[in-house]
Amino acid sequence: MVLAFMYLPMLSLIVQSFNESKYGGKWMGFSLKWYQALFHDKAVIDATLNTLWVAFMATIVSVILGTGAAWALNRFQSRMQQINYTLFSAPLMVPDLLMGISLLLLFVNLGVSLGLTTVILAHITFCVSFVTFTVLARLQDFDFTLIQAARDLGAGNWKIFRKIVLPLIAPGIVAGALMAFTLSMDDFVVTFFVGGPGSTTLPVKVYSMIKHGAPAIINALSVVFMAMTLTIALAGQFLMRKKY
């Protein structure tokens, strides 16, 4: 029942995207014309490239920062840690709107010109927390005697990290990366505020298309987007399975 509620809307979206009719509701024949229109729309293509670029950069940087942060949070014990922990979890709870406006004010006050760079920076800020907590969860089950054993056998720090730590926490990192990627791809509010000229991403474009654009193109676009997300998720699973 719950699954039906989750998947039926998606199914109807997929069906509608092949409908000849511009407004749906009525079946007017199978057609690929909305997909054709979609792939010829330069604005949509630009927005897609922007979205992927932002998601990609935000994922890479937040994975590096987030893994480091998780390691530090897990390894070092001091009174400051509790504060750090809270600081990292705060972005998970702050509403998007607040985050968007405050980041915009920060960028404006610093005199940074708005554009793709500010969007990427903003996305990194909220993605890092998600990565940190997924990696941290993995680290909590980590058996640290393995490191001592490796050191006994003469392995250097870098070798330990590469051969032992990284493979063991890799599933956590991949899960965090996937989460960061999808979060970044989906984000509308923060992107809307911190974006500048030339930084329109797909979510921003789609919201605006609802006003004057053809709903059928939006359906086709959503299906392509769903396919992309699915591919990434499956690729992630495949990579993880291969390791073990």
């Binding site: 009719s21 509701g25 950069m57 004010l105 000229p197 921003v204 605006s208 006003k211 053809a214 291969k242």
Partner: protein, 346 residues
């Protein structure tokens, strides 16, 4: 596996980064609604002025204003609705226009400017596209219909008629129906309009501004309250639909082109606005948006079926009683309160 992927990804990132910065060319940044301009017109403009036009999109006047008020810059030309342009000008976010740089202003419809426009002298804005909120019905299912806002109360359409989910549109229809101005600031008139909408609410299916297009197309709704351009797009596909322009008058809304005070490319911005006022380009844009550009001479250049279409060029009699939605300043609170009471009433 991972070792191979990471360098490949980095290389990809680098090429993307490098390809992002092409040869230096003047860039004009336009902030507007999606699908609101003909790409061919833009391409011709880019060619003529050897520049690149960058489009970014917003989906709500209010969000766009909030963003700019927080200090967001970089845009040269913005296309807000008239009442927002007025606020932007009062806040000095946009510049007064130098008419010497806009020779095509002579094409702007004088009748529109003198009768409907908020910025009558094009002091800070140039009208781009004009739309009206009217009704559409299904001719097959509704053979005869009364030409009035009173259709909202007709029991024959009970549960199969929708009304725009917008305080100014819904209360505006009621104000017009009662014979008042839709920009009324008189609390007693707004109170009466509120009661009128509350009464209509008993009969209508719902307040809706998005999916009525699908609903009237599929036959789920018999009559809908919507925007002329959107309805025209549905009608192109579904010949069973017809317009209804209530005799009491309708609301008119216009999106205007303005130049930001932070623009670094003012000359190019002027050139862009001027280009859009050319009758030929205005006609090309109208074919995409299905809204009316108040540009004299553009009508003759449109395809035949659009030239005399009531949605593009409504009956002058009905238009005489129509009004532009204006920014009401403090009186806006009266509308907010009335609208809340409508939404929460049973």
């Amino acid at each position: 596996m991972l070792k191979k992927i990471i360098p490949a990804l980095c290389a990809l990132a680098l090429t993307l980064l490098l390809s992002a910065c092409g040869p230096s060319q003047k860039v004009l940044n336009v902030y507007t609604w999606s699908d609101y301009i003909n790409p061919e017109v833009v391409a011709a403009f880019e060619k003529q002025y050897n520049c690149k036009v960058n489009f970014d999109y917003f989906d709500s006047n209010e969000l766009m204003l909030a963003k700019l008020k927080s200090g967001s810059t970089g845009y040269d030309v913005i296309v807000p609705s008239s009442y927002i342009a007025q606020v932007m000008f009062e806040d000095k976010m946009i510049i007064p226009l130098d008419h010497a740089k806009l020779p095509n202003l002579s094409h702007i419809d004088k009748d529109y400017l003198s009768r409907l426009a908020i910025d009558k002298g094009t002091q800070y804005s140039v009208p781009y596209m004009l739309g009206i909120a009217c009704l559409a019905y299904n001719k097959e299912q509704v053979p005869t219909i009364e030409n009035s806002w009173a259709v909202f109360a007709n029991p024959a359409y009970k549960g199969r008629i929708t009304m725009l989910n917008d305080k100014r549109e819904a209360l505006g229809a009621a104000l017009k129906f009662l014979g008042y101005s839709l920009n009324s600031a008189n609390p007693a008139e707004i109170e009466k309009a509120k009661q009128q909408v509350q009464q209509w609410k008993q009969n209508i299916a719902k307040f809706d501004s998005e999916v009525y297009k699908n609903g009237i197309n599929s036959g789920e709704f018999l009559v809908v309250h919507g925007y002329s351009g959107d309805l025209l797009q549905v009608m192109e596909e579904n010949p069973k639909l017809a317009y209804l322009m209530p005799k009491e008058g309708m609301t008119v809304c216009c999106d205007d082109m303005v130049i930001t005070s932070t623009s670094k490319n003012q000359d190019l911005a002027y050139a862009f606005i001027n280009y859009m006022c050319d009758p030929e380009n205005a006609a090309a844009n109208m074919e995409i948006t299905m809204y009316t550009a108040p540009v004299t001479g553009a009508r003759e250049l449109l395809p035949k079926e659009l030239q005399n279409h009531p949605a593009m060029y409504p009956d002058p009699e009905a238009m005489k009683k129509s009004e532009m939605i204006k920014n009401l300043g403090d009186s806006d609170a009266l509308y907010n309160k009335a609208w809340e009471e409508v939404l929460f009433s049973k």
